[in-house]
C-alpha cells in the first residue's frame, strides 16, 4: 500500500517538475509565436491562383499543404511508400498462396443481434466518412491512405461481428479485393505516366508526376472541374491510393480472419495434412 503511494507521489512530482521546467525555465528553448519561414513559404505557395507572378510555377493548387507536399512536392517518395505497402501485401499473399476465396462451408454465428444491428447501422456511415476523407483529401486534412485505413475498419468489423465467412456471403473474395487493389495501383501509375505520354505526343518537355505547369513545361492537369477545385493530379492520386490501401487492408484482414486449421489443410502443412 505504501509502495503505491510512493509511485503516485513520484509520478505527480515528475509531471510537475517537467511542467515547471518546460513552462518557466524554458529548457526546450524559446517558443516563437511567429510562424517559421519554411511554413510561411509552403502556406503561401501550395494554393496560389495568382498567375501574374513567377511564383505560380511553384504552386500545387491545393489549399491543404500536407497533401500538396505528400503527392506533389515529394510525390515520388509517396509512390515508394505505396510500393512498400504493396510489397507487404504481396508477401502476405505469398505466405497464404493458393487461397483465393473463403468457402462458407460452416456458418459462423457472429456476435449477438444487438451488436450486429449497431454494426449494420455503422457501416454505411463508415463508408460515407471514408469516401469524404478521400474526395476532400486536397481540401481538408486526410487523403488516400487515411481514407483507406478508415474503410478497412469495415473488414475488421465484419470479421469480428459477423464472422470471417461473411465476406463470401457479400461476394467479396480475396481475388476480387486483389483486383480492386491492383486497379488502384494502376490508377496511380496512369496519373504518374500521363504527363510523359502527353510530352511524347505533343513534343513538349514534361516531368513525371507533374501537376501544375513549370517554367519550362506548359503541361497542366485540369485544376477545376464543374467549378470545383480538384487540384489537378491530387484528387486522382488520392482516389487511387484510397482504392489501393483500402482493398490492400481488406486482403490482409480477410486472410487473418481465416481459421488456422483451414489454412493448414489448404496449404498441406502441419496437422491438417
Amino acid at each position: 500500500m505504501r509502495r503505491s503511494y510512493i509511485v503516485l507521489i513520484s509520478l505527480i512530482s515528475v509531471i510537475f517538475v517537467l511542467a515547471y521546467l518546460t513552462t518557466y525555465m524554458g529548457i526546450l528553448g524559446p517558443i516563437s509565436s511567429d510562424t517559421r519561414y519554411l511554413a510561411k513559404l509552403f502556406l503561401a505557395l501550395t494554393y496560389n491562383p495568382d498567375t501574374s507572378t513567377s511564383l505560380r510555377y511553384l504552386t500545387a493548387m491545393s489549399p491543404e499543404a500536407v497533401t500538396a507536399i505528400v503527392w506533389d512536392y515529394r510525390g515520388i517518395d509517396t509512390f515508394y511508400e505505396t510500393t512498400v505497402f504493396f510489397m507487404a501485401i504481396v508477401s502476405a499473399l505469398t505466405i497464404y498462396r493458393g487461397i483465393t476465396n473463403i468457402e462458407s462451408k460452416t456458418q459462423g454465428s457472429g456476435l449477438s443481434i444487438i451488436v450486429r444491428v449497431v454494426t449494420k447501422l455503422l457501416i454505411p456511415m463508415n463508408i460515407a466518412i471514408a469516401v469524404s476523407i478521400a474526395v476532400h483529401g486536397h481540401l481538408t486534412p486526410g487523403g488516400g491512405f487515411q481514407a483507406g485505413a478508415a474503410l478497412a475498419v469495415i473488414s475488421v468489423l465484419l470479421a469480428v461481428v459477423f464472422s470471417g465467412y461473411s465476406f463470401g456471403k457479400l461476394g467479396m473474395g480475396i481475388s476480387k479485393a486483389v483486383a480492386l487493389r491492383s486497379m488502384g495501383l494502376l490508377g496511380i501509375a496512369t496519373v504518374t505516366l500521363l504527363p510523359l505520354i502527353y510530352g511524347i505526343v505533343a513534343g513538349v518537355q514534361t516531368y513525371l508526376m507533374q501537376n501544375y505547369m513549370k517554367v519550362d513545361s506548359p503541361f497542366t492537369f485540369p485544376i477545376y472541374a464543374w467549378g470545383q477545385l480538384i487540384s489537378g493530379t491530387l484528387i486522382w492520386l488520392n482516389l487511387a491510393e484510397f482504392l489501393a490501401v483500402s482493398f490492400g487492408f481488406f486482403v490482409i484482414f480477410m486472410l487473418l480472419s481465416l481459421r488456422e486449421e483451414t489454412v493448414k489443410k489448404y496449404l498441406g502443412v502441419g496437422d491438417g495434412h
Binding site: L111, S112, V115, V118, T119, L122
Partner: protein, 121 residues
C-alpha cells in the same frame, strides 16, 4: 436572453457530466467484480461523455458570434453523441456477453443467472 439561458443549461449539463464521471471513476476503483465495474464504466461513458456532448452542442448553438459555423460545431457534437450512445451500449453488451459465455468472471453473491439457466447450465 434566450441564448444565455440555453448556454447556462448546456454548461450545467457539462458540470453534472463531470460529477458523474467522478462517480464512475470511483465505481471502477471500488466495485467488487467485473460486471459491476463495467456498469460503472458505462455510467461514466453515457453520463460523463454523452450528456456533456449534448450540453456542449447547446453551448455551441447559443454562441451567436460564431455565425453559421455554430451549426457545424453543434451538429458534429450531436452526431458524436449519437454514435457514442449506440457504440457504448453495444460495446459494453458485447464485453459482458463474451465474459459470461467464457465464464471468466463469476460474481460471488449471484442471486440469479438467467443466461446460464437458458443455456441449460
Amino acid at each position: 436572453m434566450i441564448e444565455d439561458i440555453i448556454m447556462y443549461i448546456g454548461l450545467g449539463i457539462v458540470v453534472v457530466g463531470s460529477i458523474v464521471n467522478l462517480i464512475g471513476a470511483i465505481g471502477i476503483y471500488r466495485f467488487r467484480n467485473f460486471y459491476l465495474r463495467l456498469h460503472a464504466a458505462t455510467v461514466s461513458t453515457i453520463g460523463g461523455v454523452f450528456y456533456p456532448l449534448i450540453g456542449l452542442a447547446l453551448v455551441a448553438f447559443s454562441l451567436a458570434e460564431l455565425g453559421e459555423w455554430r451549426f457545424f460545431m453543434g451538429g458534429s457534437l450531436l452526431v458524436s453523441a449519437f454514435l457514442l450512445l449506440m457504440l457504448a451500449a453495444a460495446g459494453s453488451h458485447a464485453l459482458a456477453r463474451a465474459t459470461h459465455r467464457a465464464s471468466i468472471s463469476r460474481p460471488v453473491p449471484a442471486v440469479a443467472d438467467h443466461l446460464a439457466e437458458d443455456r441449460g447450465g
